[in-house]
């Protein structure tokens, strides 16, 4: 009898452990994360997503205790995936009025500032407020929310196929100012060996989010938002950003 009791005593932790991990596995959701190339926030490196926001989102999912997979797709396909597939989230996207109802939102995953960048060797006139750029041709790229914002305000916007092309347009004087997310501009310019001066006018801020399938379990979204808020407040994202800047040998604006 004692032998049998001892055997059961030994077995018990295994049984409980197995039961707990089975129930945990059931509760531990798997989230499919989809994104698109957006330098340097999301970059394809040997078919794997890397980049600053990738670091943010990975850290978020890990801290939330979720399993996840991540893939890079063309932007429209990425959006479509999250629109149509359960437990799928697309990032980093702008939370526009039109999109509001199409997703459940985990926000903010990225706060970025947008500025105007002149040719590095040319003097320009005074740029103090947005209205001061009305005489310039502004470089943006297709699909850019900032390009659309400037067009809607009546500015002369020249759309390149990608944001990368704007550095060449700027150097070739085909645009007078490059309107870009500050971090992206610094990153792209550094890849072309160009040292940009600090933007004389940081004119707009965007807040980007993760858009999750509209019918996804709302508890998952609540958990992700709670963890995201904690990570903003405890400085986790600042640490990731500093590490990323060091890796790329870039000095990101505060």
């Amino acid at each position: 009898m004692p032998g049998k009791r001892a055997f059961l005593r030994q077995l018990l932790p295994w049984v409980i452990g197995a039961a707990v991990s089975a129930s945990h596995a059931e509760e531990r959701p798997h989230i499919n994360l989809v994104s698109f190339v957006d330098s340097p926030y999301v970059l394809p490196v040997e078919h794997r997503p890397e980049g600053l926001v990738v670091d943010y989102v990975e850290a978020l999912l890990k801290r939330a205790g979720f399993d996840f997979s991540m893939q890079i797709l063309p932007p429209k396909r990425a959006l479509l995936h999250a629109l149509k597939q359960d437990n799928t989230c697309v990032f980093p996207i702008e939370r526009s009025q039109e999109r509001e109802v199409e997703f459940q939102w985990v926000s903010p995953v990225l706060i970025s500032r947008h500025g105007f960048f002149p040719h590095p060797e040319k003097d320009i006139g005074e740029l103090r407020v947005l209205a001061d750029v009305q005489d310039y041709r502004l470089g943006s790229y297709l699909g850019s929310g900032i390009g659309e914002y400037l067009s809607a305000l009546g500015f002369d916007v020249d759309y390149a196929a990608t944001n990368e092309a704007n550095i060449q347009k700027l150097l070739a004087d085909r645009v007078g100012l490059w309107a870009s997310d500050e971090v992206s501009a610094l990153y792209i310019a550094s890849r072309y060996g160009v040292e940009l001066r600090p933007s004389p006018l940081i004119f707009f801020t965007t807040v980007r989010a993760m858009g999750c399938y509209a019918e996804m379990n709302p508890k998952y979204v609540q958990t992700l938002n709670k963890v995201l808020s904690d990570m903003h407040r405890d400085g986790s994202f600042d640490i990731l950003k500093a590490a990323f800047a060091e890796r790329l040998k870039l000095s990101f604006p505060r």
């Binding site: 009025q97 109802v101 706060i111 407020v129 947005l130 940081i202 807040v207 995201l228 903003h232």
Partner: protein, 580 residues
């Protein structure tokens, strides 16, 4: 000798140092006076170029500007970032006033303009993340119910007396602001400072209404005069008259009604801003009905207890169903067919085309755009062919209730903003509403916040060209047209339900009754969620469900069905505006 020598050297040293001090002090005096001269020139430049129209004398203006310069000294060279919605007033602030402020104070301001929806999202993002994204927000006072409950917004009355005393303009003159009741919580604290206000008023083509042949035709068809409608029956008759009977004026197709119906967030504002209040869905009370407001939310003391009739609310009440039924019906029957797929921005430009006879309520923020010369709605002498007047009232409306909606974009500061940055931004906020600047801003954007501006000679001179705007703001109307009130505990979360449910009614997917039942249940569910996340004596707490009849037989809102189709009543313009 040695001592003497030392003493001599010492005296020389003292004399030399006195000389140096004298030279430095002269140089400093010269520099300071040169700086003062430069500052004076800058101030005079702005007063001459931009702020010559003011309710203050030039000396008083200069004195105010000197105060700003002095108060801003600790924050010179700082760049502050603020955000507001995109209307003419804010574009003027962002483009002109931000520059003037920098020249006067040395504080640079990046004043971003974007959609109101984006402003709210950004405010939320700062609340959620604690990241100092902006130093101040110009946020509609519709969020007052959230601000006073959340504990995230700075109480400005306390700030002005305490931490912000040294940066609070002595001549701010809070009593001169017409909208402080909208930005004060039930706890008596001031959470926001109004920056611009505009109202939703009835808009109509006075020139068409005055045409003898149209007046005669209307009288023959409907039995009363074609004038400003006082109730929804008359509005409906006039809408039908132009769309169905008149059809064309001067060879152009015309419509008797304009609205928009695309399922996007701006549809939510369209419904929540005014349709239910004009219908009379809420209770009596100003600035908002109590205990049930125009969103149909009942409060017990200050606690929201429900929006469905079963919990004492009015969102699925007969009055609310009547309001949205008329909205859908008129959109489908009397508005241009394209209107069903339009949003706020797309529909906003339509009146300027000159083929709309009337709109039940229209944003007076568009006054500047609608008084642009050389359009079909303007006379050659620069006077408008249109007028604004009080909106017609729905069948459930009673004396003592609010009459319509007024937007009060107001300066809002979050506690997550570092104190020095908030102080610098507070200086800018006060600058753009200061008496030095305010009249000029009002004349540009036509969104007044100060009584002194409204009563100014300059506004009297412009009145004839503004279609009734000045008359409205000089009347009691400015207190009867009010923003969303404090019964709404979280505007952002609740407002999404409006457009999602009403959108399903405009598309025909649901009947209006089904949609209103859905929205009322969604509101109750959100209030229940908020009950678990909000704390404090004014946090929501759902009341128990009771039979609808229990509530419908009680006095006040939710109201039992009434005759929804009384005889149409109209009044001549001069009599109609006396209601203000």
């Amino acid at each position: 000798m040695g001592d003497l020598h030392h003493r001599g050297l010492g005296q020389i040293a003292i004399k030399t140092s006195h000389c140096i001090l004298l030279i430095l002090s002269l140089a400093l005096t010269f520099t300071v006076s040169a700086q003062q001269e430069v500052w004076q020139q800058r101030a005079e430049f702005w007063l001459d170029r931009e702020f010559s129209e003011s309710t203050l004398s030039r000396e008083a203006q200069l004195s105010e500007l000197r105060w700003f310069a002095r108060a801003a000294k600790p924050f010179q060279s700082m760049t502050v970032r603020v955000v507001s919605e995109r209307i003419d007033t804010h574009w003027y602030e962002a483009s002109v006033l931000a520059k003037a402020f920098e020249d006067i104070t040395g504080i640079r301001v990046i004043h971003e303009v974007t959609g109101e929806d984006d402003v709210i999202k950004k405010l939320q993002a700062q609340v959620v993340s604690g990241v100092n994204i902006y130093d101040a927000f110009i946020n509609d006072s519709d969020l007052i119910g959230y601000h006073f409950r959340s504990g995230e917004a700075v109480k400005l009355d306390i700030f002005m007396q305490d931490a912000g005393k040294d940066v609070t303009l002595p001549t701010l003159d809070l009593d001169d602001f017409i909208g402080l009741a909208f930005t004060t919580g039930p706890d008596g604290h001031l959470y926001q400072l109004p920056d611009q206000q505009f109202a939703n008023l009835y808009w109509y083509r006075a020139d068409w209404f005055a045409r003898p042949e149209l007046r005669a035709q209307f009288k023959e068809l409907y039995g009363y005069a074609l004038d400003v409608p006082q109730n929804w029956s008359a509005y409906e008759d006039i809408a039908e008259f132009f769309t169905v009977h008149v059809k064309e004026i001067d060879g152009e197709k015309v419509w008797g009604h304009m609205d928009y119906g695309k399922a996007d967030p701006s549809l939510g504002w369209r419904i929540s801003d005014a349709w239910l209040s004009l219908a009379g869905a809420g209770d009596k009370g100003l600035p908002n009905g109590l205990p049930v407001d125009e969103w149909g939310i009942r409060v017990k003391d200050c606690r929201p207890v429900g929006a469905s009739v079963g919990r004492g609310g009015a969102l699925d009440s007969p009055a609310a169903i009547y309001a949205v039924t008329k909205y859908v019906e008129w959109l489908n029957k009397f508005a241009p067919p394209e209107a069903r797929d339009m949003n706020f921005t797309e529909a906003g430009n339509w009146l300027q085309r000159g083929n709309i006879a009337q709109q039940i309520w229209w944003y007076s923020a568009f006054t500047a755009a609608l008084t642009e010369p050389d359009t079909p709605i303007m006379n050659a002498d620069g006077t408008p062919r249109w007028r604004m007047a009080p909106s017609p009232k729905g069948a459930y409306w009673e004396e003592g209730m609010k009459l319509g909606y007024q937007d009060a974009g107001s300066w809002t500061f979050l506690k997550s903003t570092p104190k020095d940055r908030m102080k610098a931004a507070w200086l800018y906020a006060q600058f753009v509403v200061s008496k030095t600047v305010s009249l000029r801003k009002t004349l540009v954007g036509l969104t007044p916040v100060r009584l002194s501006d409204i009563e100014s000679r300059a506004m009297s001179d412009r009145a004839a060209k503004l279609g009734g705007l000045v008359e409205f703001y000089r009347s009691r109307g400015r207190d009867l047209w009010t923003p969303t009130g404090t019964n709404v505990p979280d505007y952002t979360r609740l407002s999404n339900h409006w457009w999602q449910w009403v959108g399903r009614a405009t598309s025909g997917e649901l009947t209006v009754s089904e949609a209103m039942r859905g929205i009322a249940e969604s509101f109750d569910a959100t209030l229940a969620e908020l009950a678990s996340s909000m704390t404090g004596p004014c946090s929501p707490k759902l009341a128990k469900l009771k039979p609808r009849t229990h509530w419908l037989i009680q006095p006040g809102s939710p109201k039992a069905p009434v005759d929804e189709d009384p005889a149409g009543v109209t009044l001549p313009y001069q009599e109609a505006i006396r209601a203000w």
